[in-house]
Symmetry: C2
Subunit: 326 residues, 2 copies
């Protein structure tokens, strides 16, 4: 897997440089604190997955536009804005091994700098002059906030079904990734068929990406993850591994799992015990299979395009989304 990551990073090295430059250049706040807080979240070792996907989607249409990297950062700013607000909403402490912004500068600054980044991305998107792009971004923002609200509203809700979970991750994660791919296509005046193929790719990649994330929260090494494993459970977020295992567990195990979910805080022993049950009742395996199926669909969507280096790269990214350790 390290080889796949290396291969991808080598292929997109120039794009990543262009994206980093655009991220810094477009951070034009009038006041110092905004820049400082925005940089804290923006330059903390993010993968730049969303802007990269936009740039590659644009390139795959065959009408490469040199300004793609500038527009692409809209998706990193939007992502950073939601991270600032979500860390506050979830009362998280650490992200990517760093103290979260609201613990450094306080809630107020995190809220307002999130608002600023959201607004900044709109300004950049408006500069394209394409109303269709702005409609998509407005729609994504609207739905992301609703997805987060629903997730918040259903914390520790044992009735959360797989369908509910799928809706939440569609809203909070897949839509932004889908949007990045679709906007890349629109920016390069792709045909409707190609635009939809790229949107499909982004949607399935986004769904798989979130499922992989939710799996990592149970299976990853805390040090690699940059935050403590079990964070979702600690925050009362029920994700697919747990939802599936709860559904299939016998009455006694289910009761034990429910106790662990509902109590405030749990020990390392509780967590290891729960993880065993997630494995025993197929929660881990089921989620992995679901994610694999989405990745397959993502790659099938790309078949609307001729084979090319860019298509291959998007396929590799899809594979990597599943295999990543962090």
């Amino acid at each position: 897997m390290k080889d796949l990551k290396k291969k991808i990073l080598t292929s997109v090295a120039d794009d990543l440089v262009a994206i980093e430059k655009a991220l810094e250049k477009n951070l034009k706040p009038h006041f110092d604190l905004v820049a400082q807080t925005a940089r804290h979240i923006l330059f903390a070792g993010g993968k730049r997955l969303r802007p990269l996907l936009m740039v590659l989607a644009a390139r795959l249409t065959g009408n490469n536009n040199p300004d793609a990297a500038t527009l692409a950062i809209v998706f990193e700013y939007l992502h950073a804005a939601t991270l600032l607000h979500d860390d506050l909403v979830d009362d998280a402490s650490v992200r990517r091994g760093k103290k979260v912004a609201h613990k450094v500068w306080g809630n107020a600054t995190a809220v307002l700098v999130g608002d600023f980044l959201l607004a900044r991305s709109l300004t950049i998107a408006a500069d394209t002059g394409k109303i269709k792009i702005l409609k998509i971004i407005a729609n994504i923002t609207e739905n992301m906030s609703q997805g987060e609200i629903e997730q918040l509203n259903r914390k520790k809700d044992l009735d959360l079904s797989e369908a509910d979970y799928l809706e939440v991750i569609h809203y909070k994660t897949a839509m932004l990734i889908e949007g990045a791919c679709r906007v890349g296509a629109i920016f390069c005046d792709a045909s409707a068929a190609n635009e939809n193929a790229l949107a499909q790719y982004g949607y399935h990649l986004g769904m798989a990406f979130q499922m992989a994330d939710d799996l990592l929260d149970y299976t990853a090494d805390s040090e690699v993850l940059g935050k403590q494993a079990g964070a979702d459970l600690r925050e009362g977020k029920l994700t697919l591994p747990l939802i599936h295992a709860l559904q299939n567990a016998g009455a006694k195990d289910r009761a034990g799992m429910v106790d662990t979910i509902l109590k405030d805080g749990f020990s390392r022993t509780d967590f290891v015990w729960l993880l065993d049950l997630l494995n025993a009742y197929g929660g881990i395996d089921y989620t992995q299979k679901k994610a694999v199926a989405h990745i397959e669909k993502a790659k099938i969507a790309l078949l609307a395009f001729e084979a090319s280096q860019t298509r291959r790269l998007l396929e590799d990214i899809a594979d990597y989304a599943l295999a990543r350790q962090v």
Copy 2:
């Protein structure tokens, strides 16, 4: 003054009905909690000043567009979004006599519903198909968040100058009102001259409106105000009456004022004493005169238009902005 208010309200009764309908109709969230929280802030007896100004600005151009009321609610949603976030930022307790949203539903919901309302306004604005309108709204949002951050950053900052204060209120208040007037003009394809005249009107009205607000925080009856007087001082916000008085006070009085500003919490006696000094050193009077000057300029800007019932109404609103008790 009650007569002026009554006169205005009678003249705009139909517009207010159309705005209320559009506010309710466009609140299309997918999840219940969003609707509930958004309604709490949206239907708490707001004056609808911003959407009303957009509708009247549109009408003044002579090209009345029946869809103006729908677009106008963008400015109420944006306003509500900033109130949700600002009440949290300021840790306020009561607004318009009601418990603030984050005290009812928690910080997380207030943050996310604010985000939702912001996004919802973008979607509505995008439906106009006018990229210029979206650029203005993105710019307003960007600057409003920066104005709030600057205000937050300079709480209890005794070096805050009149110029700093003017910049903050321009960003956090005047820009949105200016934007509402400008967008009304653009929506009706007004000439550049008319667009700028309406923007000027909005800018000056907005500046005066915030100055009047800052005066009311010292002079209004708490019951009429719907929150406790002295809230700005309690939050460490230095506004023009205080900035001006500090500048003109003798060393002894200044030291006493500084003590009151810097200490956590103050008694009713402290507040009355401070208010006497604001009067004695001309802070109240100076702010009032500044506000009057802005209102004069707002009315002068309207002279770009022929006399009409709508122009008269906008002049009345300017007068009322100064004279209002709440």
